[in-house]
């Protein structure tokens, strides 16, 4: 019921806003590729308004339906809202993580450890954001009084570094509370910031106006040692731990960037490159700011997005080991832009327009994957409104409240998927609603491709893919189209099988890595070497990125060691945790305990890939039950599936063959069936043979095929038994002798011989077993039949 509602809502949007959508689309199409500031703004806002209105009304409808069909209790309404009631491609879930503490002196995010940090006068409180839970308790650590510019925990979480001033970084050991301070040597340079690193040569990187200092930190000597300096004039820098990449801006316009990647495999210096900045007139020289540059990691690749305010474009660059390549630009509809990455989907938040646009840049496509829609808030309990009288009204109030709050000036977007509301000290995690995204796409094969790339909430995504495929087949779409969709699913499965072993390795190595970081610094290098290529998020793609291998530029940057990227493993681990968290939330909000269990079971899934077995049980069987009449369409689809699995060299279990036989037999299409058997399109197996035997009642040809199959499979026992059943006991005996089949009871043969009323044959069979089986003459069986034989012979004589 939920799904249907969502779809119909979406349809309503498409129907109701079609004129606005057409106008907007037409306007953009006219102006592309010259994209300008506020291009088509009027049309865009009209479309946005229309969409929002339809969304709201449909939510009302949904809630009303819901409360009519079920008893309208508040908890159920909550479920309705937190389900797919609100319609948007992305949403945040109520409640947020509250980081509100008395005496807090600001909120900092340590993206390496995924910690939210809030220092007070002499303590720092930290909240884990992975797994994200609004109920997570804060941990407190003592630090000295003093100013805080930024604060980060070391990667082994044993010490804390606090950026105190332009000249000073202070270190605290958490356990011993030991502390020391590192000062800048020269007065002329100042510290811009710092980060911890898992690079083999150093622990800490300090970014100064004069360049990078690579340091090791030792609490035993209470000092830092300078390992290396990278001299460079720096105006500002950006760094994300996910990419291990630091970009240093220099020059008058700050648009000359130098990058270093400091990963566990070592340090890579990127070629210096210039960012593209349009000029409004000849004399003006816009200056690039740190807020205008974002480093994002998508599918293990590293990109940089840069805001060009004059051109109103978001330029993207992709980093390779030895090159930086501009990839094209995304449009800007707002002067304030922020980005998030959720499950490898890029969200560009057009803050002023209060919408987010989603891109899947897997295949360098810059087309958005859904219409611009605002982020929604889900799961807001009704008691918060204080007036549970009128559903519509209260919701109205809520949504308007939150719309005011949403995309406000207090919002800070944290990498990769968090939103921090500085004013209310609350943190939200962004989720994608894949159901909504996929229902807005009419191209099923490419939609499935998109879904198969999603790793978070793998089991939910998988169910979605299955439902889409089922519906696609039930709608009797052209076989070639369905074949395409099936190809997508099969190749995705094949891919996941191939990388599966790698994934396990990664996990093992990760464990060893954490041991390594717990050990002292002196012994770390050896241990770290063992995880080479694991924690590395270097510029190369993951090896699995087959599309890109064909492209010239990528062939260069495939590092031998960096085959596997940590991201996959990290995010999959995150997924496990977050989805179990999700179930906890559900459990708190209502009493869906059953749903809880099943979801927890599935939460181990790391990929939405669909195995042939699942295709069988979740697509073909249910579709077979629903399709009425001639099965040839479904058989056509199954043949396409077999073609696909065959070309990917994936084994298919016999159950699907058995199912195909049943389909064809039901409509007596024996000619087709025997062709499929003879050509081994339905591969021989005992199960298949048995199914054919069953159909043998209707068509003797099938029984013959089954017998041939048993013989070819060397299933001697079954073959001999069936031969005897057919009355061919002499042939069966010959076969039994040749293949030494002793498991078939002699009495079967004797009974068959007796049934033929041929005393010579009976004598022959009796004689055969006397010779063939030692001691057969002493069995009562022998004596019985010997007596019968004698009676037959005397009867003849008389």
């Amino acid at each position: 019921m939920k799904e249907r509602n969502t779809t119909s809502t979406l349809k309503r949007i498409l129907v109701n806003c079609s004129s606005q959508a057409k106008e907007y689309g037409g306007c953009v199409a006219k102006k592309v590729p010259e994209v300008e500031r506020d291009m088509c703004l009027k049309e865009f806002l009209a479309l946005k308004n229309c969409m929002q209105n339809v969304c709201l009304t449909s939510v009302f409808c949904y809630i009303k339906n819901f409360s009519m069909s079920a008893n309208a209790s508040s908890s159920q309404l909550t479920v309705g809202l937190s389900g797919s009631g609100g319609l948007s491609h992305a949403y945040v879930q109520y409640p947020p993580l509250k980081c509100n503490l008395p005496g807090s002196r600001g909120l900092y995010y340590d993206d390496a450890n995924k910690l939210l940090l809030s220092p007070t006068s002499d303590q720092v409180f930290s909240w884990k954001t992975v797994p994200f839970s609004p109920h997570v308790a804060a941990t407190a650590d003592y630090i000295n009084e003093g100013p805080v510019l930024s604060i980060r925990y070391s990667l082994d979480a044993k010490s804390i570094a606090v950026h105190r001033s332009n000249q000073e970084i202070q270190f605290f050991q958490r356990e011993t509370r030991e502390t020391f301070t590192h000062m800048c040597k020269s007065e002329s340079e100042s510290i811009l910031g710092f980060f911890w690193t898992d690079c083999p040569v150093c622990d800490l990187v300090v970014v100064k106006t004069s360049g990078l200092d690579l340091l090791t930190v030792s609490f035993t000597s209470k000092s830092v040692n300078l390992v290396e300096t990278k001299k460079l004039s720096v105006n500002w820098y950006v760094y994300t731990h996910g990419s291990r990449l630091v970009l240093l801006a220099s020059g008058m316009q700050c648009k000359t960037l130098t990058g270093f990647q400091l990963s566990s495999v070592g340090i890579v210096r990127l070629p210096r490159f210039e960012m593209v900045m349009a000029k409004s007139d000849a004399n003006s020289k816009p200056v690039l700011a740190a807020e205008d540059v974002f480093i994002i990691t998508v599918y293990g690749r590293i990109y940089c997005l840069q805001i060009d305010r004059v051109a109103m474009q978001l330029h993207s660059y992709r980093f390779y080991r030895d090159a930086v390549v501009q990839q094209g630009s995304l449009p800007m509809f707002s002067s304030k832009i922020s980005v998030s990455v959720v499950d490898n989907v890029l969200l560009v938040h057009q803050v002023d327009a209060r919408v987010s646009i989603l891109y899947d840049i897997f295949e360098d496509s810059r087309a958005p994957i859904s219409a611009p829609l605002p982020l929604l808030l889900r799961g807001l309990p009704q008691s918060h409104t204080g007036r549970p009288v009128n559903v519509g009204e209260s919701l109205d109030r809520n949504s308007s409240n939150h719309e005011l709050m949403f995309y406000g000036d207090d919002w800070t977007f944290l990498v990769p998927d968090l939103i921090c509301d500085v004013a209310s000290k609350s943190v939200w995690k962004i989720h994608l609603d894949l159901e909504v995204i996929s229902s807005s796409s009419s191209e099923v094969p490419s939609n499935l491709e998109f879904l198969q790339r999603r790793k978070l909430e793998a089991s939910k995504t998988k169910q979605l893919c299955l439902a889409i495929t089922r519906a696609f087949i039930l709608e009797r779409r052209p076989v070639t189209m369905v074949a395409k969709a099936i190809d997508v699913l099969v190749s995705s499965y094949s891919h996941s099988v191939k990388t599966c072993s790698n994934l396990k390795e990664t996990k093992v190595d990760e464990a060893s890595a954490s041991v390594g970081t717990n050990a002292s610094n002196s012994s770390r290098s050896a241990k770290d070497e063992s995880r080479v290529g694991v924690g590395d998020k270097s510029f190369n793609l993951s090896a699995s990125d087959s599309d890109d291998q064909s492209r010239e530029i990528d062939s260069r940057d495939l590092q031998k060691s960096g085959k596997e990227n940590l991201l996959g493993a990290e995010s999959s681990r995150g997924e496990v945790q977050s989805s179990s968290l999700h179930t906890q939330q559900l459990g708190l909000g209502n009493n869906q305990l059953n749903a809880n269990n099943s979801e927890r079971q599935d939460s181990q899934l790391t990929s939405p890939a669909i195995s042939p077995d699942e295709m069988y049980s979740c697509v073909f069987v249910p579709v077979g039950e629903e399709i009425v009449g001639d099965p040839s369409y479904l058989v056509a689809i199954i043949v396409e599936f077999l073609r696909s699995t065959n070309s990917e060299k994936i084994k298919v279990r016999p159950n699907i063959y058995v199912f195909t036989i049943q389909l064809l037999v039901r409509y007596e299409r024996f000619a087709e069936l025997s062709l499929l058997i003879i050509n081994k399109v339905l591969e021989p197996s005992k199960e298949v043979a048995m199914q054919l035997l069953e159909s043998g009642h209707q068509n003797p040809q099938m029984r013959k095929l089954a017998l041939d199959m048993l013989r070819q499979l060397s299933l001697h026992h079954d073959y001999v038994t069936l031969l005897v059943q057919d009355g061919c006991y002499l042939e069966a005996l010959r076969y039994a002798r040749k293949h030494k089949v002793t498991s078939v009871r002699p009495s079967l043969f004797l009974e068959a011989a007796l049934a033929s009323k041929d005393s010579q044959h009976l004598a022959a069979v009796l004689r055969f077993f006397s010779d063939f089986i030692a001691g057969f003459r002493n069995t009562p069986e022998y004596q019985d039949y010997f007596r019968i034989l004698n009676e037959m012979n005397t009867g003849l004589a008389v």
Binding site: P478, V479, T480, A483, G629, D630, S632, Y633, V635, A636, V639, E640, L642, R643, N646, S647, R669, A671, E672, L675, L676, N679, K680, V681, E683, Q701, K704, L707, D708, R711, Q712, D726, G727, C728, E731, R734, R737, K738
Partner: protein, 455 residues
């Protein structure tokens, strides 16, 4: 078609079709005759042939009501009987060859009768239904004459009718020959067939796919498959819409080439449009129910268009399928002598529906004595089979093994096992039976997955 010459030149053979339900009144005997070849024979002679046949049928029916007489061997002639439809009989009278006294292959001749009948039924429906439609018999006669004379023209070599004889003992009329394909190619073919059948828009389409003269895929019933296969191998020519057309059989008198033939399915008697398309060596025959197409030829051309777009036009991605299948099959195709096994001359028959044999050119190399011996042996096996089938109804296909040494020292071998038959001539086998038997065993294991292996 040169039929005039057939009429005059073939005194060796007579073929007649008559209906026992007609012409029972004195003086109306001529009404029985539906077809007679040669047509220029005097009616008196025609009637005497038919009178004799009818007499024999009536007489033998007393003893065997369900299966009346099959053959009469006279001193100089053989009479081969075939009850095509109930009370409609086809009789072929063949002069015995003077040079070799051996009986010509009666079974092969009966299969000729069977074949011509099934082809006629394929294109015109049953004779009985046509007689019921038009009781005077004029309609059926006007259809039978051109149809059968055209069919017979295929046996014409020079001016002489060359009917099946001992030379043809290693082939089996009325069976299909199949192309052996690997699993991957088979899946591709199936995928093509399914797309094809679904693209025609109606669910009850059937198809037949041939590569060269070999069957690759069929969704038709075995009987219809055999008829259509026979027809397809016999003749086509390319129509102007890219589809193949046939000049005579499909259409009524004074036909135009653009008329799509209509065929009748045997089991359901459903009428189907027959559309055939060829790409290089690949031929696809699609049967579309006449009832599913609203305005005849016009509606059909739409369907054809659709099929062309989906499967056959190479610019459409989906149609690459046809190209790919043709390529794949061509790659796996071993040429005309693909199924030749050196040292062996063989015929393999499966369930009287599918056969495979040494290529005709290779069979030609056999000595006449070998062929005569094989011809005789086949006759024996046929008798044996019939005897077994009539004695016990349940298990017709029991095992049988016969090895005969021919005059020229060749081994002539027959083996049957569970509905499969293997005939083999080994001219170069040495003296011993053991050797010959060994050769059969090897062949069976290698090419028949051990079906004929005895112990």
């Amino acid at each position: 078609m040169g039929m005039a010459s057939v009429n005059t030149a073939s005194e060796g053979m007579q073929l007649c079709i008559f209906d026992l339900r007609r012409g029972q009144q004195e003086g109306q005997e001529l009404d029985k005759i539906l077809f007679f070849f040669p047509a220029d024979l005097p009616f008196a002679t025609q009637l005497s042939v038919i009178g004799l046949s009818e007499g024999l049928i009536t007489f033998t029916r007393i003893f065997s009501p369900d299966a009346a007489c099959e053959v009469i061997e006279a001193e100089r002639h053989s009479h081969v009987f075939f009850e095509a439809e109930s009370d409609i009989w086809m009789v072929m009278v063949v002069e015995k060859s003077k040079e070799s006294k051996a009986a010509c292959q009666v079974d092969a001749l009966r299969k000729v009768l069977k074949e011509v009948h099934s082809l006629f039924v394929l294109f015109h429906g049953t004779m009985r239904s046509m007689l019921e439609k038009e009781t005077s018999g004029g309609l059926i006669r006007s259809h039978l004459y051109p149809f059968i004379t055209d069919y017979l023209s295929d046996f014409l070599i020079g001016k002489k009718l060359q009917l099946p004889s001992f030379h043809d003992c290693l082939m089996e009329r009325g069976t299909v020959q199949m192309l052996t394909v690997g699993r991957e190619a088979a899946i591709e073919v199936q995928s093509l067939v399914k797309v094809l059948e679904c693209s025609a828009g109606t669910t009850s389409c059937y198809s037949l796919v041939l590569f060269q003269d070999l069957l690759v895929s069929t969704t038709l019933s075995p009987d219809d498959t055999i008829s259509l296969f026979t027809y397809a191998v016999l003749r086509w020519f390319r129509g102007n819409d890219g589809f193949l057309a046939s000049d005579i059989w499909g259409a009524d008198n004074g036909s135009q080439t653009s008329v799509t033939p209509i065929v009748y399915l045997q089991l359901t008697e459903e009428r189907m449009y027959l559309c055939a398309y060829q790409y290089k060596s690949l031929t696809i025959i699609l049967l579309v129910p006449v009832s599913s197409i609203l305005n005849g030829e016009q509606g059909l051309s739409l369907v054809k268009q659709q099929v062309l777009e989906n499967v056959c036009v190479l610019s459409v991605p989906a149609s690459l399928k046809m190209l790919r299948v043709e390529e794949k099959l061509s790659k796996g195709w071993g040429g005309e002598n693909a199924y030749h096994v050196s040292g062996y001359r063989y015929l393999l028959v499966d369930d009287e529906r599918v056969s495979r044999a040494s290529p005709p050119a290779k069979v030609m190399t056999l000595a006449k004595d070998s062929l005569l011996a094989m011809s005789k042996l086949r006759e024996e096996v046929n008798l044996e089979k019939k005897a077994k089938c009539s004695s016990s109804e349940v298990n017709c296909d029991k095992e049988l093994e016969i090895c005969v040494r021919a005059k020229n020292g060749a081994w002539v071998i027959a083996r049957t096992s569970r509905g499969k038959e293997l005939y083999m001539v080994l001219e170069k086998a040495s003296e011993t039976l053991l050797y010959a038997s060994d050769a059969v065993e090897k062949f069976s294991n290698r090419y028949c997955s051990g079906v004929f292996s005895l112990d």
